[in-house]
Amino acid sequence: MNVAQEEHPIAPYLRMDRMPHMWCPSCGIGIVLKCFATALEKTKMDLDKVSVVSGIGCTGRTAGYVRLDSFHTTHGRAIPFATGLKLARPDLKVVVFSGDGDLLAIGGNHFIHAAKRNMDLTVILVNNFIYGMTGGQLAPTTPTSANTSTTPYGNFETPFSVPKLAEACGATYVARWTCLDVRRVTRAMQDALQRKGFSIVEVIAPCPVLYARRNKLGAGLEMLQYYKEKCEICHEAGTENLEIAFQDKIPVGKFVDKPRPTFQESMHEWYRSRLGDKYKTIE
């Protein structure tokens, strides 16, 4: 068969009637989505029982492209929506798929509380260091000195280190990779999907049109070259020293894999011990 007529390997996981997608050429989100579809395939999950929830932004559009029960919620509210869904339907695997601005700024408080509670959610956080869809504004992850549309003389703030933040708040699985490393991203997603509790995979991805262009870093390909040159795998480093300075080394790896009871497990155990047979629940 002509290659052009062959079905793409991840087509069964996508809403092909919505293609082409709206992401810019050489944006990294498509790669992350491919990794996610592959991870679903490899884990052989019942796709009727997987739900994707996203917020607003470029990565937020992912929910609209996956052929699963999918919810494109309001800005920053992917985690609270996902929390509600998981509480009401504990049989579902709930995946939050969103960007750094959505999850860490507008939704920052939800992020820290869901990690604190150890809500049974898999969070895929695509970090492109900037607000893409709204026009290249400063994000909570923008490296110090980087130029954005709201910091035209460079950013003087210190960015969030996602793994450090997640671990400090109580996440039970934390990994960071760049979208250059598709096999490791996929494997981390498989791990995260199979863990119980608040698991997060941070994927560094290029925003060629805003972040790279404003900072004169070339196009997506040059960004991938940067990832290739500056990535350092440091599984055992601990989350203390994982900051990413502007165009400097990117520490990647699996940093936390430490199970503890999930919100629902703790809740059921607590109320059963207090209320005995009076406690009725859905599980």
Partner: protein, 162 residues
Amino acid sequence: MVLPGKGYRFHATGLTHDERGYPDMNVKTQDLLVRRLVDKIRLNADKIILVDERWMEDAKVVVISYGITSRVAVHAVELAREKGIQVGSLRLISLWPFPEKRISQLAGKVKSFLVPEINYGQICLEVERCAGGKCATISLPHMGGDVHTPEDILAKIMEAVK
């Protein structure tokens, strides 16, 4: 709406969307969507509107209140009734859709509406619009910090029935 996890694999978005639930940002889809959403309320207004009417049979003045103010307003009407004043109370439980029909009907029968509210006068404008000039609408604003006292409202009722 179907439930997630049942195999439909549907998509829901807060963006302007078409009948499949897919984002589709254009004037035509926006027009269809907004009309459909608003008409869901408008066409079912009679089933949605909730009001609580008291002492309405012979009322010459009707106090129209909502929210926390209605606790005071209903008591003020009670006090007025004890004095033999012909006053009724219309407590709005739902504000949208607005009970236009009922207020318009009452406007034809009473002398005035009295609208106490904790702001500089907002719902009194809606009431005035629905009254359509058939009776007077008196605003009794209160700037907040606490609620009206029953005496404030009672005094205004006494003025209105004169």
